[in-house]
């Protein structure tokens, strides 16, 4: 496989990630289509987050990555990529407010001093409103519940208005109402032609949300629409024999 078609948001070829002697991801070749929601699905340790990190070039990797036809560094500098981190990777005690966090989504459009202009402030206010956390804007980020915190990071991605949104476990530790709000926003992004990639470690709700699934277990087991990728046989292969009934 070579080259990037106009409908490909991400193309990876021979992607591999190794941490010391441990191989987290081996030889993944796949295309993630633009304008769709794609789920990276697998058990903990199956290489999902490593694949996301490799796409962003946050970890050393083998193979090649193209984002919207560009090298990853070019795509990042062009503001094409937004990311929502895992809750565990954030210091919730950090002295920033929700508004501060969402405003960082606009940094790529600001000057060196990162002083927000009227358009930036409006985009931040709209994103806060869309995620239903406008009244929490001036709270310290750690004062929010798990679901509200996740909404704040999705609001940051909305304010950034990037072509591609990568979310690492967006529904872990999130209440039902926040999950519903985030799902609604992600579907709205898809309707506007944006590409969404979600790392997801369990099977509940995946089939209803995503258009495509990359099923991982240290390597790519299967790629395809959920009804095909999440068949009982493939779930058993990815998650173990006892998981087939969870979907």
């Amino acid at each position: 496989m070579s080259g990037t078609a106009a409908h490909d948001a991400i193309v990876v070829e021979g992607l591999g990630v190794r941490y010391g002697d441990v191989r987290a991801l081996d030889d993944v070749t796949a295309r993630i289509r633009s304008g769709r929601i794609t789920g990276l699905v697998g058990v903990n340790g199956s290489g999902k987050s490593s694949m996301l990190a490799a796409i962003l070039e946050r970890v050393p990797h083998e193979g090649t990555v193209r984002i919207l036809g560009r090298r990853p560094a070019e795509a990042r500098r062009a503001g094409l990529v937004a990311s929502v981190p895992q809750a565990e990777s954030v210091d919730w005690d950090f002295p920033v407010t929700v508004r501060d966090v969402v405003t960082t989504g606009r940094f790529g459009r600001m000057g060196l001093l990162r002083i927000p202009r009227a358009a930036d402030r409006a985009a931040v206010a709209d994103a806060l409103e869309l995620l239903g956390i406008a009244e929490l804007a001036d709270r310290q980020i750690g004062e929010l519940s798990g679901g509200q915190r996740k909404r704040a990071f999705v609001a940051r991605a909305i304010a950034q208005d990037a072509e591609l949104l990568l979310l690492d476990e967006p529904f872990a530790g999130v209440d039902r109402s926040s999950e519903a709000r985030i799902v609604s926003v992600l579907r709205g992004l898809r309707e506007r032609g944006r590409t969404v990639v979600i790392v997801h470690h369990d099977l509940s709700g995946v089939a209803e949300l995503v258009d495509d699934v990359l099923l991982l277990r240290g390597r790519l087991l299967h790629q395809g629409p959920p009804e095909e990728a999440l068949s009982p046989e493939r779930i058993a292969e990815a998650f173990g024999a006892g998981a087939a009934g969870e979907r």
Partner: protein, 286 residues
């Protein structure tokens, strides 16, 4: 009474001491907010000690102290990274090995240098005897550090809070980390005159730690950190004048006292506030 209070300001050496200490304290206070929030306090300790051989060699060769300190400060950071990569020992152990070894090298160089007096001042500070050249060096280096940190403050804060997002939007976290470490090496130079190598780490950690007990926004954190360190530095210097005690020690003691007050009465996490809230909760609940 007014004459007694104003007496320190009538002496040229005190005005010089106040100027040097405040510039150094402000540079340290700005930097300390990032060092504390990023968990880099030990790195501050390491770099401040590791510059000793650089300063000693600069003294011997007749070069500016800042040059020697910057070379050894940045070299220490690179060496720490190299030791970690080569041996895979944990960061705190690598830092401990490198900075104590470099500090010991500095002590050895000092011990074989004929005029030891000036170098002793590097260890313990000599803020009451700063020369015009010292003042010029502190002002220039302090201004460079303060301007760089203030211009880049939002990017540095983003890298400290969420390096993944910083990377995703095209910032360069490693470059910004290098800026912080370079600023750290230069800041140590400014603070050497005021409190000496041994107490520099206090000025690099206490203001940021104190402000974090009070502020919930980054700009407020910077303002509190600078405000606290300026107030504590003045109290320390004037206290040293009136009580005839070590000025460096008095400045750091004042900062420690400010931290204690914030720990007790800070609006964000102060022990008294938390105790009052818990009591109110118990009364309401009971």
């Amino acid at each position: 009474m007014i004459d007694v209070l104003l007496a320190p300001f009538t002496y040229d050496f005190m005005l010089r001491a106040i100027l040097v200490t405040l510039v150094a304290a402000v540079a340290c206070a700005l930097l300390s907010t990032w060092l504390v929030q990023m968990g880099w306090s030990l790195m501050g300790d390491a770099v401040s000690h590791a510059v000793l051989p650089g300063v000693a060699l600069a003294y011997i060769l007749g070069l500016p102290f800042a040059l020697g300190a910057a070379v050894f400060g940045i070299g220490a950071v690179a060496l720490i990274g190299g030791v970690r990569a080569a041996s895979r020992i944990k960061a705190d152990a690598a830092i401990g090995v490198v900075f104590t070894t470099l500090f010991a090298l500095g002590l050895v160089i000092v011990s074989v240098t004929p005029a030891e007096t000036d170098l002793q001042h590097i260890l313990f500070g000599n803020v009451l005897g700063v020369s015009d050249a010292d003042i010029a060096q502190v002002l220039i280096v302090g201004a460079i550090v303060c301007v760089a940190l203030l211009v880049l403050r939002r990017d540095l804060t983003l890298v400290a809070f969420d390096p993944g997002h910083a990377h995703a939007i095209g910032l360069r976290p490693r470059l910004l980390h290098a800026v912080l470490l370079g600023a750290l090496a230069l800041t140590v130079v400014t603070a050497l005159q005021a409190v000496g190598i041994i107490l520099v780490v206090a000025m690099l950690v206490i203001p940021g730690a104190t402000a974090s007990l009070i502020a919930v926004r980054w700009d407020a954190l910077l303002a509190w950190s600078v405000g606290i360190t300026v107030a504590a530095s003045m109290v320390g210097l004037l206290g040293a004048f009136w009580l005839d005690i070590s000025p460096g020690g008095a400045v750091v003691l004042s900062q420690g006292l400010a931290f204690g007050l914030a720990l007790l009465f800070g609006p964000r996490r102060g022990l008294v506030i938390r105790w009052a809230r818990a009591r109110r909760h118990a009364v309401d609940g009971g």
